[in-house]
């Protein structure tokens, strides 16, 4: 007999974050469908990333970070799941331990003492220097959102000029793997 589906805790009113992985057919309009679903129903998107992930580029993997009550997150997953090109929906936040990573490129324009300080901090945070001129650095950094936020905050007084972040991607730890 198939497992009995469990019910979300519908009385839980606390908001929680959810990192949702979605495998979809890589076809035109799919991103508009997903984004339209979120805007049309008033769900929150904290970040969204997407790229094809299989050999023949037929399947894309979308990672959405959102927040809501337990009931809202259940709704989001059910609404995603009934989109025709959606193959799998997985709430990484509750399916077990998972890794979440984000890539950031950050430009700092500074000279003199501030340059030394920026470099020192980059080293402590394991950010890589990927571009340098006499008056600037571009650092590359991966990690979870908090770490990137902390580094960005430290760069602000040192001449923070530009930040670009990819949004979060996530994957379950262990042998479990999400397949289309």
């Amino acid at each position: 007999m198939p497992a009995v589906p469990t019910m979300p805790d519908i009385n839980e009113t606390k908001l929680r974050n959810a990192t949702i992985a979605v495998l979809v057919d890589n076809e035109p309009g799919i991103l508009a469908r997903v984004v339209g679903l979120f805007s049309g129903r008033g769900y929150n998107i904290e970040s969204l990333t997407v790229a094809p992930v299989d050999e023949d580029r037929a399947i894309s993997r979308i990672t959405i970070v959102t927040s809501g009550t337990e009931m809202v997150i259940e709704q989001i997953k059910a609404q995603l799941d009934r989109l025709v090109p959606v193959r799998k929906v997985c709430d990484l936040s509750i399916e077990g331990p998972h890794l979440a990573r984000e890539l950031m490129l950050i430009k700092v324009v500074c000279t003199g003492e501030q340059r030394m300080e920026a470099l020192r901090l980059a080293d402590a945070f394991r950010a890589r220097v990927v571009d340098a001129t006499a008056a600037s650095f571009v650092f590359e950094m991966t990690g979870n959102g908090d770490k990137l936020d902390a580094f960005t905050a430290l760069m602000r007084p040192l001449g923070l000029a530009e930040v670009v972040r990819t949004g979060v991607i996530g994957i379950a730890r262990g042998t479990y793997s999400l397949k289309a």
Binding site: M1, M7, I10, G29, M71, A78, R82, V84
Partner: protein, 611 residues
């Protein structure tokens, strides 16, 4: 039918030109591919309106007889007609419109079908692929515009995928919770040559809605139901969509359990209205007994309804003491508005079957004593006779007009289909016209689209040529798609349009009376046409009745006339639709009509912001 049979049958029925094209080169034009796929999908009728971008399809239609094209007078009407066709038959309705304005005119109909879960496939023309994005003549971003109003949509850019897309569109439209699907067809795709492929037999790669309910949860539900002291069954449109067998199973289940049964607006007909266990429609204009039974029940079985706000009233006061069981094919309907205790995701018919079997297999006794007490309470509520009205004086009461229409059509014994427009007349139709079978009642529930009823009736009549089809209309709504009288004339469709003419947008007037201090801003139907002459000019029979003593004769004359009729029935202008649960109120805070005791409660400010 195996795919092979389907193929040979479609080949037989296809025209000679199509056959040669298919067998000689194994390729055919995009337009021919579309028609052949429609035929394979069982399409017999298509509602449409031509234009430049779809001329190749019209050309292909010209060369064949298998699919009948019904030329409407406005694209919105094409979609509503296809809805009427689909809802009265259970088949997928089919629409064909041109690019740009043709597609945008169809949008209201598509959303109507989405909200009411009606299976449709709508073909839209598009400018040729190389012009897409150039603001070409009659270009619209149709997939962009229709994305939020369809269940799914496609833009075909590769003719090799065309046949597969058409087959998939029909599968998506009818599977799971049904809905409208748009296929946008650039003109070069329709003209180009490509291969045909039959409908696939393999399961769809991603869209496979669950149809069978979880057996363990069914057992839990039966346990709860058997232990109920004040149960109620609340059945909606999902039961209609699951096919007539689901309504039969619902009736069997309700009779077996001895439970009371109520219907949503969309579910009317799934349980026989004349049965003693039927407590009437529930919700904003539902009966006293249905709403109070919902409010006071201890176990609620919702089959194929979605806890819509018209039904629940104020959410935090909705059925506060009930354990709730929700049967729905759409997982996203579960816990959307109302948290439930047991969710049975599956087809309404298959789930009812499983519930019946589990009920019969269970040895747990029912609380027969408590159930009898519950019925005593319900009968007391029913005794209030909340739909009572007094027909007196020289003016026809709208309730009386519907009641007489119902009684006289019943005497006639013809299979009768009712469509409606939107407003008070719609609610009176729901309250005073009884339905014994599903698929006989077509109304715009979710979207509330004025102008729905006449084109929907057209579609119903096309699908049921020998049946009696009546559009119960308001004088304001009927003008929203009145041009379809010409379609009735062209195809000799004997649809009867029964207008409750109160010279007001009555439902708007009612809200203004109850919520806005009687300031009747812009709700008077000024400068109305002479509906008798209007009917005449559209080659139909026009009748006008103003006195109660002429009502029956008028109805009989309308029904006896073999062609289309507009009956303009002048009714009381100031009548309100009761009972009413004002927005933001709970089921037990219902306003009753002037003929019943019970005071009118004020509407809260919170309620006023609600629609």
């Amino acid at each position: 039918m195996t795919p092979g049979e389907a193929n040979s049958e479609s080949q037989n029925l296809m025209s000679a030109t199509l056959q040669t094209a298919a067998s000689a080169a194994e390729t055919m034009s995009g337009a021919e591919i579309v028609l052949r796929a429609l035929k394979e999908q069982g399409v017999e009728v298509i509602f449409g309106y031509p234009g430049g971008a779809v001329l190749p399809l019209y050309d292909a239609l010209f060369n064949q007889n298998a699919i009948r094209h019904i030329l409407v007078r406005h694209e919105q009407a094409a979609v509503h007609a296809a809805e009427g066709y689909a809802r009265s038959t259970g088949k997928v309705g089919c629409v064909l419109v041109t690019s740009g304005p043709g597609a945008t005119n169809a949008v209201t109909g598509l959303l109507d079908a989405l909200m009411d879960s009606v299976p449709l496939v709508c073909l839209t023309g598009q400018v040729p692929t190389h012009l897409i994005g150039n603001d070409a003549f009659q270009e619209a971003d149709t997939t962009g515009i229709t994305r939020p109003v369809t269940k799914h949509n496609y833009l075909v850019k590769d003719i090799k995928k065309l046949a597969g897309v058409v087959h998939e569109a029909f599968y998506v439209a009818r599977s799971g919770r049904p809905g409208p699907v748009v296929i946008d067809l650039p003109k070069d795709i329709l003209i180009g040559q490509g291969p045909y492929s039959e409908a696939p037999t393999a399961p769809h790669r991603s869209y496979r809605p669950q149809r069978e309910p979880n057996a363990e949860l069914v057992a839990q539900a039966v346990k709860l139901l058997k232990g109920a002291k004040r149960p109620i069954v609340y059945a909606g449109g999902g039961v209609v969509n699951a096919g007539p067998e689901a309504s039969r199973l619902l009736t069997e289940f309700v009779r077996l359990t001895g439970f009371p049964c109520t219907n949503t607006l969309m579910g009317l007909g799934t349980y026989p209205s004349t049965d003693r266990q039927f407590v009437g429609m529930l919700g904003m204009h539902g009966t006293y007994e249905a709403n109070l039974a919902m409010h006071g029940c201890d176990v609620m079985l919702n089959v194929g309804a979605r806890f819509d706000d018209r039904v629940t009233g104020r959410l935090n006061a909705f059925a506060p003491t009930a354990k709730k069981i929700h049967v729905d094919i759409d997982q996203s309907s579960i816990n959307k508005n109302v948290p439930v205790d047991i969710a049975l995701v599956g087809d309404a018919g298959l789930t009812l079957k499983a519930l019946l079997e589990a009920w019969k297999a269970s040895e747990q006794p029912q609380h027969t004593g408590a159930l009898a007490e519950w019925w005593t309470q319900i009968e007391e509520w029913r005794g209030k006779d909340c739909l009572r009205y007094r027909q007196e004086g020289s003016i026809i009461k709208p309730q009386h007009a519907i009641r007489r229409l119902y009684e006289i059509t019943r005497e006639g014994g013809r299979d009768t289909f009712i469509t409606t427009e939107v407003g008070q007349h719609q609610m009176w139709a729901a309250q005073y016209f009884g339905f014994e079978k599903p698929n006989r009642w077509m109304t715009s529930g979710g979207l509330g689209t004025m102008g729905y009823g006449l084109p929907a009736a057209m579609g119903v009549q096309i699908a049921n040529p020998d049946a009696l089809v009546i559009d119960i209309a308001g004088e304001a709504s009927i003008l929203m798609n009145i041009q379809e009288m010409a379609t009735l004339a062209q195809y000799r469709l004997p649809v009867k349009v029964f207008i409750l003419n109160n010279e007001y947008m009555g439902m708007v007037r009612q809200w203004q009376e109850l919520l806005h201090g009687g300031r009747y801003s812009e709700s008077y139907s000024a400068a109305l046409p002479d509906f008798v002459k209007l009917a005449d000019s559209f080659h139909a029979r026009g009748l006008r009745v103003t006195r109660p003593e002429d009502l029956d004769a008028g109805i009989r004359e309308m029904l006896a006339h073999p062609g289309p009729v507009i009956m303009d029935c002048a009714v009381a202008k100031d009548e309100n639709c009761f009972p009413m649960i004002p927005s933001g109120a709970a089921h037990n805070e219902m306003i009753l009509g002037p003929d019943q005791e019970g005071g009118v409660k004020g509407v809260t400010d919170e309620g006023k912001v609600l629609v």
